[in-house]
Symmetry: C2
């Protein structure tokens, strides 16, 4: 893959990561950051900590996610769990619809 398309990949990821993270959180119900990295990487969407934590913080600040530290005495480092708020769920619905629309438009353009 050329440097040009590498840069393009960086750009088209903008927003797409939000969509995928919200989608995964809805599927799982409750997720913490490190787990998200592993699951997304396994799904073919590798990302680094420096990418996901600022992103989770932003979405929490925006009211799309609710964050709670694990209260149960879990072994190991404490974990911060994220879940969709009602607003986050609504936003995800809009995003999914828009993403589908983008896919349809691209197909239409390809077919001329």
């Amino acid at each position: 893959m050329s440097a040009l398309t590498d840069n393009w990949k960086t750009q088209i990821r903008k927003g797409y990561l939000d969509l995928c993270i919200l989608t995964l959180i809805r599927s799982r119900g409750r997720v913490y950051g490190f787990d998200l990295i592993e699951q997304l990487t396994r799904a073919g969407l590798p990302l680094k900590e420096g990418t996901i934590y600022p992103l989770l913080n932003r979405m929490t600040a925006d009211g799309l996610l609710g964050a709670t530290w694990d209260t149960e005495n879990v072994k190991g480092h404490p974990r911060k769990f994220y879940a969709l708020t009602r607003e986050g769920s609504r936003a995800l619905d809009e995003m999914s619809e828009e993403f589908d629309r983008m896919v349809r438009i691209h197909q239409k353009l390809a077919k001329g």
Copy 2:
């Protein structure tokens, strides 16, 4: 649509516009800027001049597009036509493949 999802839409367009423009140029063979705006707008992807011209210039500078002024005596303002270079065609192939991959990953995530 909320201000939040509006901003998200702006972000996810990054890169996606490149893909759509290259796709449309491949379909049409030869296109000029103003025509691109009309066709994309009609396809459901409205954009402004301030968006598309810098973008066409960048892709031309990157060697993805070749630009030629119309030599035939066309009525009205002279038009600059854009067409895919061989490198642009190769880049578009990679982008399309990556976009399909993104769509598949998103579907997988949604289904859990």
